[in-house]
């Protein structure tokens, strides 16, 4: 217990870069905020940031096992479960539940991703008892009344119908369906127009029985609350959950279909392009070099190579980016953009050329130094609100990076060398990619692969 970690590190040294002009960068070591690991009387662990200067409490939590736990042909169960938790629970019906949440201005929400199902709670400190009681009911005693299930099903289907005409959604869906054919990752987490109508109340109840358990729970609490009070509330909310989960095993996967280019016809003025391949898992020692490398290629908002070449120099797109995406059972490298139909081929060529160039020669020394400087310097911006801190602390726990990660993280970025990024550039980018293009039919450049 009490493994304290400083939230803000001394600013990274900027090295030889010359840009500051008259204003020197002053080193700073503000360590007012600490993260503490607490364990409730009932044995539930959480990370706590006690911050008495705000009159509110933010709590985030997650259970491993999201849409990957959907039964075969029932994609969307995790997503519908998340949507139904606050639609009636315990002795409170759906209408009354929403009224009680609203009347105390409590914010409660649940989200399912491929790898986990998460929740967030925000309340004024004065309403903490009501907020945590309602949350306990939502997690331990959701109703799944047929009338509520049908309403949420209709809303889900409505969103899925919209998605059938969205180039962005289609490009994404087609990419995942191809890359992970036969694996749970192939299914859209929201489900499909075929799977959602088939979902039963039992599917939803089974999902909560399998997944909502203390052994896979991660919690972070931030705000005007002390460790003793937080411990009691943890027991109140999560204490009745079973000790162990019953997750179905999920196989590791590597993306398939690499080298293919898939075109989907849709009559839209702007085509959406997705390019992706195998990535690097979060626990792989090469992850941090890959993260830094990607920042230079397409991660940086206004200075990445893709931004400069696709947007600034050629005006081909408004948004262009790349990302490294580690999941629990696979890792991806992805890039995406959208451009007018007649420039689709040109845009794809520019992106592929930039990827190839980076694979072959890596970044320049200046780019590497600048990327490290940005990534270390901007880390603190993730921690300037209670809600953002709670989110980050749950993500760090899901990725099993340790409570000292916040202290260590900038050092890990600093330690990345040119040899590291060049090695990783080959590993990550000198590879075949799967491309999906959604838009008006255009000749797609037939290239390698």
């Amino acid at each position: 217990m009490n493994l304290a970690a400083r939230l803000f590190l001394q600013r990274a040294v900027l090295g030889a870069l010359i840009f500051v002009g008259a204003f020197a960068a002053l080193p700073r070591s503000a360590d007012a905020t600490t993260v503490e690991r607490i364990v409730s009387p009932g044995g539930i662990a959480a990370w706590l940031v006690s911050e008495p200067s705000v009159p509110l409490i933010a709590m985030d939590f997650a259970f491993k096992g999201g849409a990957t736990q959907d039964p075969p042909n029932r994609a969307g169960v995790a997503n519908m479960t998340a949507a139904l938790l606050d639609e009636g629970a315990g002795d409170i019906d759906s209408d009354s539940f929403h009224e009680r949440v609203e009347s105390k201005a409590i914010e409660m929400g649940f989200t399912a991703t491929r790898d986990y199902i998460s929740g967030s709670l925000r309340t004024l400190t004065e309403n903490q008892d009501e907020a945590f009681d309602l949350l306990r009911l939502a997690i331990t005693k959701p109703h799944f009344d047929p009338v509520d299930v049908e309403r949420i099903r209709e809303q889900t289907l409505s969103a899925l119908r919209r998605a059938t005409m969205s180039p962005n959604e289609l490009a994404t869906e087609r990419w995942w369906a191809t890359a992970f054919a036969g694996h749970p990752y192939a299914q859209p987490p929201r489900g499909t127009l075929e799977s959602v109508p088939a979902i039963t109340v039992d599917d939803l109840k089974n999902f909560t029985r399998k997944v909502f358990a203390r052994d896979i729970l991660k919690v972070a609490i931030v705000g005007n609350i002390d460790a003793a009070t937080a411990g009691k509330l943890l027991d109140r909310v999560f204490g009745d959950l079973p000790a162990t989960s019953a997750l179905s095993p999920v196989a590791k996967a590597i993306p398939q279909g690499l080298g293919q280019k898939i075109a989907v016809n849709l009559d839209v003025p702007q085509s959406v392009l997705m390019i992706g391949g195998a990535g690097i898992l979060r626990k792989d020692p090469d992850f941090m070099p890959a993260f830094v490398l990607n920042h230079i290629l397409g991660g940086s908002a206004f200075s990445s190579r893709l931004y400069k070449e696709v947007r600034e120099a050629r005006g081909l797109a408004y948004s262009v980016y790349s990302a490294v995406m580690p999941l629990d059972y696979a890792a991806l490298f992805m890039s995406a953009t959208a451009t007018r139909s007649d420039r689709t081929s040109q845009t794809l060529e520019v992106i592929e050329a930039e990827i190839r160039k980076m694979a072959e020669t890596g970044p320049t020394e200046e780019e590497l130094a600048k990327a490290k400087s940005f990534l270390t310097g901007s880390f603190g911006l993730r921690f300037d609100t209670s809600t953002k801190i709670a989110e980050q602390l749950v993500l760090i726990q899901l990725d099993e990076l340790g409570i000292d990660y916040i202290d260590k993280r900038n050092g890990l970025v600093e330690a990345v060398t040119m040899a590291d990024v060049k090695r990783v550039a080959k590993r990550l980018l000198d590879a075949r990619m799967l491309v999906t293009v959604v838009g008006k039919p255009q000749p797609i450049a037939a290239k390698g692969g």
Partner: protein, 486 residues
């Protein structure tokens, strides 16, 4: 389910790069432009937030001062983390454009990143990319804003850069023309590819018979295509001057230190222009119930969007705008709202329904109502249900329980906002560029508390009069056109 709050969005630690930032701020800009739900009470909600936050923290008060060159400055201290949000707000937006040059305010916003004589070719952005700062900008009908989020020691640096580009912008065809293509791609992404956005433009254009709020912020496509360097520079010289801007700084700073910095940086910028009063052509009294139907082959889920012409916080009589805030909360915010209860839960005619009110506007603003019918439900049925909900409030008023709930929610929003320095900066900036003041903002919670149930009922009766409205129906095909497509 749009209104659900969600905590984590599947972004992994160190896996999101700059993309999440772009998306988040793009979403913000879109919300500001499209007058979304979250902006209810924006003009004002900050006061309580500040009082609570600063009182709890024992922190200093908000500082508000004007430099000799006319630049107004607002400082919102939040000393919890060594981070600062720096924003500059110019009192110019798409409604200030010359007819025929739609999209110019937004185009110039893009071009402001092209460099100055002193800091050429994106040195500002390059510097932020080095020190770990986030930046972006957004444009609405009434204002154009630029921001940076940085570690506090870099505040003097970004103030220096921002002061420099207030008057030092250098544009060439080489950097202007590719950027116009970028804006056209932004148009494709936001509007052309989105049937919902396209009908939203049509409804607003039909609502405003005379006022430039009827023009889309991003512009009409055929006019964007012709914007050029000379247009941008002329607009820049007319509106970008210290006496037409407000700087808002929130975070780990206090008023005195910012004042010294502001005088050293912004204080050195001479006035470029006198700024004329913002007198746009105003709307005549609306008299006609208007409907329009737009077909788009990509529509898989029909929707209804209705806009009413209503007062903004700036044009309203005392108490009216606050009553509209409460009305919008009761009528269409979330699962407890009248529209959701009636259309989605009880009458089972819609998958979703809600309302919004944009109080933050210089001139007469909009109150929006929207709904998506369940398959097989006609627009006539859907609209009858909407009209019934509104008529019941207009005729019978609101219940004590929903009235209290709405006020509690609105006032709590302000407290939650106090946790987020960037939100605070946005609220102040928006308020001060559309005729508000720090004082007016500070008194907002008290004004919301003073709203009576009778005032809410009256707002529904007076302002949600169909003769003040345009209703748009978004469909896949116009009736009778089915045969032509097969």
């Amino acid at each position: 389910m749009e209104h659900r709050k969600s905590g984590i969005h599947g972004v992994r630690v160190d896996a999101s790069g700059g993309r999440a930032i772009i998306l988040a701020w793009a979403a913000l800009a879109a919300r500001l432009q499209s007058t979304a739900v979250g902006l209810a009470g924006v003009a004002a909600a900050l006061a309580l937030a500040f009082q609570v936050a600063s009182a709890a923290a024992g922190g200093p008060e908000i500082a508000n001062f004007t430099l000799q060159n006319g630049l107004e400055v607002v400082v919102i201290p939040d000393h919890r983390t060594p981070v600062v949000t720096h924003m500059i707000w110019y009192k110019v937006g798409s409604a200030d454009e010359t007819p025929g040059k739609s999209g110019l305010a937004h185009f110039l916003e893009h071009l402001m990143f092209k460099g100055t004589a002193k800091n050429p070719a994106g040195r500002f952005s390059q510097t932020l990319a080095t020190i770990g700062g986030q930046e972006n900008a957004f444009t609405t009908a009434d204002y154009t804003a630029y921001f940076q989020r940085i570690a506090k020691e870099y505040l003097p640096l970004v103030m220096e850069f921002e002061a420099d580009r207030m008057t030092g912008l250098v544009l060439t065809d080489d950097n202007v023309l590719p950027e116009r293509d970028v804006v056209l791609e932004e148009f494709n992404m936001r509007v052309a590819n989105s049937p919902e956005a396209r009908i939203g433009e049509q409804v607003a254009a039909a609502l405003y018979l005379n006022h430039p709020y009827g023009r889309p912020v991003i512009g009409w496509r055929q006019e964007i295509e012709k914007l050029n360097r000379d247009d941008a520079l002329a607009f820049y010289r007319r509106f970008y001057t210290p006496n037409n801007a407000v700087v808002v700084i929130a975070g780990d700073v206090n008023g005195d230190e910012v004042k010294a910095l502001a005088e050293k940086t912004y204080g050195q910028v001479a006035r470029v222009a006198d700024v004329a009063p913002r007198l746009r052509p105003q709307e005549p009294l609306p008299v006609a119930v208007r409907q329009l139907t737009m077909a788009d082959a990509r529509v898989a889920q029909p929707t209804l969007q209705r806009n009413y012409l209503v007062p903004s916080a700036n044009t309203a009589e005392p108490g009216e705008s606050e009553a509209l805030d409460v009305l919008s909360q009761i009528l269409g915010a979330g699962e407890t709202s009248r529209l959701y209860r009636a259309l989605v839960v009880d009458e089972h005619v819609a998958t979703g329904a809600g309302s919004w009110y944009q109080g933050t506007a210089l001139d007469e603003s909009r109150f929006g109502v929207f709904a998506s019918p369940l398959p097989g439900v006609s627009f006539a049925t859907l609209e009858a249900a909407i009209d019934g909900v509104i008529a019941r409030i207009a005729e019978s008023g609101v219940t004590a329980a929903e009235f209290e709930r709405a006020k509690t929610r609105l006032i709590a929003d302000a407290v939650y906002a106090g946790d987020n320095q960037a939100t605070m900066a946005r609220w102040y900036g928006a308020a001060l560029t559309v005729g508000g003041s720090v004082e007016k903002v500070t008194s907002w919670p008290a004004r919301v508390r003073a709203v009576t149930p009778e005032a809410v009922q009256k707002a529904a009766r007076v302002w949600l009069d169909k003769r003040r409205s345009v209703t748009g129906y978004l469909v896949k095909e116009l009736p009778g056109n089915e045969e032509k497509r097969s």
